[in-house]
Amino acid sequence: MQGRTGVIWIIAAAPFLTAWAALFIGAYALSPFAVLRALVDGLPLFGVAADTPEQAIVFDIRLPRILLAGLVGIALSVSGVTFQGIFRNPLVDPYILGISAGAALGCALSVGFLPHLPVQVMAFVFGVLAVFLAYSMAKTEGEVSRLPLILSGVIMSAFFMAMVSIVKFLVEPMKLQNIVFWLMGSFSLADWKLVSVAAGTMVVGLTPIVLMRWRLNVMSMGEDEARALGINVKRDRLIFIAAATLIVSVAVSVSGIIGWVGLMVPHLLRMLVGPDHRRLLPLSMAGGAAFMIAADTIARNLTNYDIPVGIITAITGAPFFVYLMKKGGKESWGK
C-alpha cells in the first residue's frame, strides 16, 4: 500500500509537471528566464503585463495550447473509463457510440456545403446526433441493453463514415484537404476562446461523472447485481452516456479526432491503481491530461513541423495495446 500511495501522488502531480515543462519548450526560441519573466509579468497581481511577443508566445500560444491538450486528455480518458465501466468491456473507447464518425460528417458537411457554419459547431452537433441515434436504435421495448448499444454504435459509425465518404466524393479534391486536415486531430489552433468553451462544457459534463463515480463500481459488476443493490441502472446509464458524450463531443470539436488516449490511459491506470472507480476516475483525469500534454509537446517539438498529435498517440498507443493484451489484460480489468 505504501508503494501505491507514492504512485498515486506521482500520477496526481504529473499533469502539473508536464505542463510546467511544456511551457518552456517551443519553436520560438525563448530562454527559460524569458518564459519565467513573461509568466511573472503576466500575473494579474503585478499588473505590469507589457504587451510583448514573448508575452504573447507564453500566454496566448503555449498556455492555451497546453490547457486545451490537458482538457481534451481529461475528456477522452474520463469518458473512456466511463464507457468501459458501464459497458463492462475493456475494448470500448470514447468513440464507440459513433461520436467520431458523427463529428467527421459534421466537419465534412461544413467544409463541403455549408461554408458559413463553423466546423466546430457542426462537429459537435453531429457527434451528439450520432450518439442519440445509436441510443434510440438500441432501445427495444423501452429497454437499452449494453450489447445492442455497442452494436448500434458500430452501425451508426459505419453509416456516418459512409456519409463522410459521399461528401468527400462530391467535394473538389482541393477542398478535400480541409476535411483531411481536420480529421487528423491537432491542437495547432488552440486559443483562449477554445479553452474557455472546452472548460465550460467540460465542467458541466464532468461534474455528474465525478460525483457518481462510485456507481460505476456497482454497474461494472453487472446489471442484476446493480439492481439488487438499489441502483436505477437505466437512468444512471443514460446520465453517464449523456455526460460522457457531451465532453467527448466538445473535445472532438476543438481538436479533431485523437485516437487511443481514451483506451490506453484508463488501462494503464487500472494496472497501476486498481479498478476502483472512486480512485481510478480522478487519476484518469490526471493521467489523461499529463499524457496528452506530453504527446502534444512531442508533436510540436519533435521536428520543425507541427505533427498532428493523433499520430503521436497512435504510434505510442498501438504497441502499448499489444503489450497489454500479451500481459494479461484480464487481471488488470479486475472483475
Partner: protein, 339 residues
Amino acid sequence: MVCGAENQVVIITLKYKICLYVLMLMFAATVSVYAETVTATDKMGRQISVQAPVKRAVFFQTYELIPALGIWDNVVGIGRFAYQNDLMRAVKPDIERIIPSAGSGTDINIESIMTLKPGLVITWTSKPENVRHMEQKGLTVFTIYPESLQELYDDMLFQGKVFEREKKTRAVIGEMERLFAMVKKRVSGVPDAKRQKVIWIGSRPTSVACAIGVTQDVITMIGGVNPAAVYQQRNVDVSMEQIIAWNPDVIFIWGNAKYTAQEIMNNPQWRFVKAVKDMRVYKAPEWSTWSPRLAPVVLWMAARTYPERFRDVSIEKEADFFYRKVFGIPFSKVKGFAG
C-alpha cells in the same frame, strides 16, 4: 512504230510519274509521321507519344486550357469538377450538356471513359493506380503535377502540340509573360534589405507553402521572400510560434481555405505578426494555379505586396484585358479578387 515510240515515251513518262508520286507520297507520309507524333515525359517519368492532333481528349486537369486554346471540338470528356468551375461556366454555361464527365482525376469510371474512345487522357498524379488501370485498357494517359512555373509552361506546351495549337499556346504564355514582365520590372528595384517576407497559408492557418510548388516561384517573382522555403516540401504544418518567429510582412491565404483574412487579423494570437499589425492579410481567389489564370493572381499578389509600386496599375483592368484576350470573356464574369 511512231505510234509505238510515242507509247514508249508515254509509258516511260507514266512510269516516271508514278515513281514520282510514290516518292512524293512516301516523303509526305514520313513528314506527316514526324509532324504528328508528339513525345514528352510526363510527371510519372514515362515517355508518352501521341498522334497529333488529338481529336478525342478527356481532361481531368488543366481543362481551363480548353477555352484558352479554343479546342472544344477536340474534347469528349471532362472532369466532373469542371462543371462547378466559375471560368468554365462563364465560357460555356451549358457545359454539362456539351461535354460528358467520366469522373475526376481521383475517381475514374473506366467504362464511361472507354465509351468516349479518347485518344488522350490528361490527369494528375494523385492516383497512379488509376493511370495504370487506364493504360491497361489501351488508353494513352498523360499525367501532370506542375511544381514550378516552368513545369506549368511545359505542360501547356505539350498540350498545345498535341492539339496543334502551338501558336495559340505560345500566345497565351506570351500574355502570361506580359503580366509577369510587368511585375518583375516593377519589383526589380526593390533592394534586398527591403524585400517583403511573404507566406502563403493553406487548409489550416499554420499550414505553409514551402520550397516546392508554383507558389514558391510566384513569391520569388513578386520580389518576396518565403521564410518557409527552408523546407524542401510542398506544404508543412508549423506551430504558431514558428510563424511569429518568421514574422512575415504579408500573408496570403489559399482561396479554398475555410477561414477569412478577417479571422486571422482578429485573432489575438497573431497580433505580433507584422502582416496582421499592418492589416496585410489577403485571401487569394479560388482560381487554380495550374492555369493561365495564375498570371492575374501574380499581378494581384505583387500589387498587395508592394502597393507603392503598382499605384498606377488597375489590377481589375489588367485582369479584364487578360481574360478577354486569353479566354474571350470579360473579367466580370468570373469570381473576382476578394482581398
